[in-house]
Subunit: 267 residues, 2 copies
């Protein structure tokens, strides 16, 4: 069964060792889409059980270079679920008020409630990614954040929130193709941001910042998954599959009721 | 085209005049489901445009007696939309901290962001419904809330948030059938709450409290829609249809970009 690269705790990640074009044992888009449909159907039932149980949550963290497919993954993997049990949050550049707090303050407010599947489109990792590449804080401060992140994620795990962290891994060529697509198709113009080009100039620095974050913050309680993401259909399948397997392992149970249904009469 | 009962501003609502079994011109569940599918498909495209425009929002308010179908409506009307653009919030009994603020304080925090479709599963109306029936505040305080609600909703409308308020109208007999179903089907036990029976005893008081709220808070900028809801398929169709028509009238536009796509070269 195809699966993302699991970053073993303590292992040093080298992104150039992982082929963004990889599609594992999946031969075609059609094969992947059939498997994805099956996964999405299973996810629907699993989410209903998680929601009924109302004791634990799953938090998916999506990180990627610009155009890496974060929005597309949400759309293809989570559309179709009951939206009452899904919480998506996109983190943008922090506001002045948010910058007046520690970097995890705004993150904690978006942790999903029990019973829900939450998803962070970008996350606290930006503070060791763009934060590092653009020197948005002194290096001494940034260096401390990796430990803070690990502690924070362990708190979540201890409290019934299972983390699933995905890095969607695309190549620099693939990013160029996707940016060009946004320029060439008028209905995609609004997705194009000039700022993305400035970040692209720092491609190598970002790859390095990702390698550091993936290496230092892949822990037993919250490992990183690297998803080859040049092929969107393979990316969607790996994320859906991993989410499904995680929920199956949690095996949420409908809560027992503390009354005898036979003894209740409705007038 | 079937549509919910629009409460004209200033008009006094009498719920017993509206048949909860009504299905308008729709002859069968199959007909309704075919129309619903068409509406949901249209909603998908309209939501994408609202999201791209990123300037206005729609806020759906769902109110109903227990078992009235709020959860089912969310599931059938909003599943399938891109979850990145949907915000659902279920309001429960207020916390001690929330009770230490005015009743709209916790509501305002959940107003959807621009670009999104928000939905309140229960809302600020509970403060003039259970609040009134159970005397949770002095009558003088409750009486003032209707005006506060109208002012609050006008603020939203002035700021690009279109409100769509639905009262899902079921009969007392239908509620009994649905409560019995929850008791008879083990996989629905967890949805049954003994407290619902206590509220059922106050059925007439709740109907009256709804009549007052629907009459006083149906305004030009935020009218109430009464949805005959004994037939779930008719209810889903009316809500989807009204949401679709509202979005079509908003006619969201992809924002214009401030650069010339032809002049940009990606290296």
């Amino acid at each position: 069964m195809p699966q993302p690269y699991l970053v073993k705790p303590g292992r040093k990640v080298k992104l150039s060792d992982i082929d963004p074009d990889d599609t594992g044992s999946i031969k075609s888009r059609a094969d992947a889409e059939a498997l994805l449909e099956d996964d999405c159907e299973a996810l629907y039932g699993l989410q209903e059980r998680l929601y009924a149980e109302n004791k634990r949550a799953v938090l998916v963290v999506l990180q990627a270079m610009d155009t890496g497919g974060k929005d597309g993954t949400v759309k293809h993997v989570l559309s179709g679920l009951n939206p009452s049990g899904v919480e998506i949050h996109s983190f943008k550049a922090p506001s002045a008020d948010e910058r007046d707090h520690d970097f995890l303050w705004r993150i904690y407010q978006r942790v999903p409630r029990y019973g829900n599947i939450g998803l962070f489109n970008r996350s606290h990792y930006e503070d060791v990614l763009i934060g590092r590449v653009r020197s948005l804080a002194p290096m001494k401060v940034i260096e401390k954040r990796y430990d803070s992140i690990n502690r924070f994620e362990e708190i979540l795990d201890d409290n019934g929130i299972t983390l699933l962290k995905f890095f969607l891994h695309i190549s620099k060529d693939e990013q160029r193709r996707r940016l060009e697509e946004r320029l060439n198709e008028p209905e995609k113009h609004w997705k194009f941001e000039l700022g993305d080009l400035r970040e692209r100039e720092k491609w190598d620095d970002y790859q390095e910042a990702y390698e550091i974050a993936l290496s230092r913050c892949s822990t037993k309680h919250a490992p990183w998954h690297i998803v080859p993401a040049n092929k969107k259909w393979y990316r969607n399948l790996l994320v859906a599959r991993t989410l499904r397997k995680t929920l199956e392992a949690l095996d949420p149970q409908q809560p027992k009721v503390d009354f005898d249904p036979k003894k209740i009469k409705i007038v």
